[in-house]
Symmetry: C2
């Protein structure tokens, strides 16, 4: 139904003249999704940012959902737990996540969209299940608890991202990187490795 099926992932790079346009669209889309969420990030606004016609977005990405899927492609690149000292895993994780959030707006875009769009929420569930959960399974003392422990870690990391980058609570925005790490690292460390409380 989408019509022209482009060989977007052919082994040879196959430079097209439109590759630059495609990339520009994706960048603009990421910024808009991060700033406005799914509904308010209109194709027309994204096209305006990319200085092209809205119909180009449709031709290259099929529809709005396809554009979102192409724009939000996330690899958390979580550290390998076996290679870090067990008592530092909390700090390393928090540092890694803070760097991820600060570096680019893809995660902010995903968070904003995940809250209002079902597809976005499913994407977040997928990232959680396929990237955070396996790592937690290798860190936690009891595999049975790793699902809950990973959820706790996600709640704290996403909560900080929410208050700091989306809701922009002033005290959360004012926190320095080192403060966030100093406060959150023990929390994550406990969620991952401490014995079950109560």
């Amino acid at each position: 139904m989408t019509g022209t099926e482009t060989d977007s992932d052919s082994p040879a790079p196959s430079h097209r003249r439109s590759d630059a346009t495609r990339a520009t669209i994706l960048t603009a889309a990421r910024e808009r999704f991060a700033a406005d969420g799914y509904e308010r990030a209109t194709i027309r606004a994204i096209a305006r940012d990319a200085k092209i016609d809205p119909s180009m977005v449709m031709r290259y990405y099929g529809n709005k959902e396809g554009l979102f899927a192409a724009a939000i492609d996330i690899d958390l690149r979580l550290p390998v737990p076996e290679k870090v000292p067990k008592e530092d895993v909390g700090r390393i994780f928090v540092e890694h996540f803070v760097d991820l959030w600060e570096k680019n707006e893809v995660l902010t875009a995903l968070l904003r969209v995940g809250v209002t769009n079902a597809a976005g929420a499913e994407r977040m569930q997928g990232i959680f299940k396929e990237q955070l959960l396996p790592v937690a399974l290798r860190v936690c003392p009891d595999p049975e608890q790793s699902r809950a422990r990973a959820a706790l870690v996600a709640s704290q990391m996403l909560g900080m991202a929410l208050t700091r980058y989306v809701l922009r609570f002033p005290p959360a925005v004012d926190l320095h990187r080192e403060e966030i790490v100093a406060w959150l690292a023990p929390t994550v460390q406990r969620y991952l490795t401490a014995p079950h409380p109560g």
Copy 2:
């Protein structure tokens, strides 16, 4: 500009025939905002739920923002910190918040709207500043740090609400009330009362 100015907050209750309709609209609005967020919660859908005409919503609440303001009126009723033992403040807070989230959907609505709507985000900042911050100021050992400590508490509580009630990560949904309290209470306790780390 809104025209008919109703005496909505007159000292006498002044029962109007339309009070039931007004309440029905607010209930439907809360449900829709909680389920769909600001943009996708259309006035038409809310009116359909309330079994009245969309124009009634406009007449009673002026416009969509007015409806939102009327629907999301939140008093966290946080416990008075002087009345609870200092070592239990974390547990009491977590229990209180979990009960709040479970009891009604107003907080879910506010969270969903706060992420995509500027007015919603400002409302959340206001609730944080006027309800959580003053309490933190009375609990924290050092008043200078109370802003940061309150932000940390908010990040953990909102993060759990986000993963559990909005994104619905399965492991977060499966957590029992007692588990949440057991895991989060020490975190909140530390954020509020422990000495500054690092």
